[in-house]
Point group: C2
Chain length 382, copies 2
């Protein structure tokens, strides 16, 4: 698959150019960024497939094993999840990551991409199928729903017994529809309302670097920071706010921060609960790590939250008490990506509490069976 | 909790006697067996709590850890699932297992038992609360819904954001309702249509022992065998069938077995898909392990299936290809119980594919968070 993607880079770029031209003007800059395929992104896609291919086969792994007092050998063995349905919008690279991860974990996958990325998705899908064929695997292991009829999404949502898990990726409208209507289990996140908390004990230079990267590296990704929380005891909040403003970020500040720069605008209540996915951030002063934990509990979306501090005790408290799928200490929230953590890509990020939490990759695409070996034992008794 | 249950054994027995008297005549023998509490079962309940208390704390366990190439330390840490709702019927011991397992995994639990077991459940719940109090834990960690109004079950099914997972235990009507109506994620099994396959290479004495225990030890439990599959090449099928018949089991046999004993009755198509939960079994001749695998794929409920054979290659094929939560080799299906496998009890058995499969105990009652520690890393790039 990786070889086919590298060999067909020109074809993928041409297909993407067609999609980009068709979308012209109809998409926000953040959405255009998601749709865009570049030569670097094609190489990243192929490199991700190389990483996945080099990972240990998750199927058959013994997750746990012991012998019971009466001599039964108990093993928990990883097995494929089954048929994985992916409903996605905009980001063509989802095709490669999702297809390869699902098949590496022994599943079949049904991909239903958005019409705005139809040509790009088709070109990448063709490379995956070429890879399957070259490896002697069934073409049907990675299927693409090419028909743009939206009723087909409804059919996937109701396919109990045919699709084992659905993973929606895209805008909030799509994910909310899937979460509300699906009869099939769903792994997803609706919001990435992520926080960076800068503690009084943070190294100022590190805090500045992490805040800027978390917000501005790419504003349209689900791991982007949306609210900056600054410890009331932090010595220099103005530098953090000014750097965001200098980076052309609109910053909506609470009353205690508002006087620090004339470019700041006053935050309203809704700002604390908003995922901007754009060059906009909310900023609040909080009373230490306890205040940050309370703010995140009240407004967070259980996706990704970070603390910057040199104090290990404060860090441990934040990492322990913030109830998010991904919690980071002294690192950018933009690392919220399976590939960055060594998963070889991701098929989505889940903020639900069951099965998989955070980036969903090979392990999240497997389940297990309990295999018990005896020597004739019966339970007896009453 | 275990101490309180042992100390209050007489009170629990008296409460159970009240429930049994009230139910008199209104329940099948299998349901009466589920409702009945005996001194042995009280001791088993207390012993189960002792086992749970001695298990390692699952919360905080590091399920996986590595360092990424750019120096991020990645850890997957087990955390509590949250609030667990249990809706159950008949079996009063569910109170103890479910309450203790949920709390041991750091959760709060809301128990809603059936009205037929109200007195027994209340007596056991009082012991759990006494244990919580003695340990300095909040009484609210194990809550019991005493009001018999069935609308309260509906409230639990719709409590998205308040209850994190629902576990129904009881008759098919209850479980089907929960699966159909719940907006909250559910861990459950609807059917335990379990098979024992006796291979041509089975030890006859072992096969007889396992078949009888699987069917007749307790007929009302979800791990009971419902269909016996006998290899067409097995030398002595008649002995297996006669032993079941001698044990007062009604046996519904396919055409090829019917002539082996005049007490056999002909199976109809529905028998292959029926969970009798009573002294009734279906019996079919199959063409080796491949035939057994196909039969189970067509008629099984992904709960518990067993093979009896002395041939390790045949066993490996069955254990690998039968897609059930629990697969056993040379052991009775009646071991399908978390306590028997060393889980210290179980809060239910799940036949879905996500999160937990088979007995749900401490690990199934936790989830994880991804904890990432850096030294100031930002993602940068594009």
């Amino acid at each position: 698959m990786a070889m086919a993607i590298r060999a067909q880079a020109d074809a993928i770029l041409a297909a993407n150019a067609t999609d980009m031209a068709a979308a012209d003007g109809g998409l926000s800059p953040a959405l255009r960024d998601r749709l865009q395929v570049t030569r670097d992104r094609i190489e990243a896609m192929a490199a991700g497939l190389d990483v996945i291919a080099a990972l240990p086969d998750p199927v058959g792994a013994v997750a746990a094993a012991w012998v019971t007092p009466n001599g039964l050998t108990f093993e928990r063995i990883r097995v494929p999840l089954g048929v994985v349905g992916i409903v996605f919008e905009s980001r063509p690279n989802v095709t490669a990551d999702a297809g390869a991860l699902a098949v590496m974990a022994g599943n079949a996958v049904i991909l239903r991409g958005g019409s705005e990325a139809a040509q790009s998705t088709a070109a990448i899908h063709a490379c995956l199928v070429a890879g399957l064929t070259a490896a002697g695997l069934p073409m049907g292991a990675i299927q693409r729903v090419a028909d743009p009829d939206r009723a087909l999404v409804g059919a996937m949502l109701g396919a109990v017994g045919l699709i084992d898990v659905l993973i929606p990726r895209g805008g909030k409208g799509l994910v909310a529809r899937v979460l509300a209507e699906a009869k099939v289990p769903v792994l997803a996140h609706l919001d990435g309302n992520n926080h960076v908390y800068v503690d009084a004990a943070a190294d100022p230079e590190m805090a500045l670097r992490i805040v800027l990267d978390s917000k501005l590296r790419r504003t349209g990704v689900c791991g982007a920071m949306e609210t900056l929380l600054i410890d009331a005891a932090y010595p220099d909040p103005a530098t953090l706010l000014r750097a965001l403003l200098d980076g052309r970020c609109d910053v909506r500040a609470d009353a205690s921060l508002l006087a620090l720069d004339p470019r700041l605008t006053p935050a309203v209540a809704a700002d604390w609960d908003t995922e901007y996915l754009d060059a906009v951030a909310a900023a609040a002063s909080v009373d230490g790590v306890a205040g940050a934990i309370v703010h995140i509990a009240n407004h967070g979306s259980h996706h990704t939250d970070a603390i910057v501090t040199a104090d290990p005790i404060t860090a441990a408290r934040f990492l322990g008490e913030v109830d998010s799928a991904i919690v980071l200490h002294n690192a950018s929230t933009q690392f919220a990506d399976g590939a960055e953590f060594g998963f070889g890509g991701e098929i989505g990020i889940a903020t639900g509490r069951l099965h998989a939490r955070g980036p969903v990759a090979l392990e999240g695409l497997t389940t297990y069976k309990n295999v018990v070996r005896g020597t004739g034992q019966v339970r007896g008794g009453g």
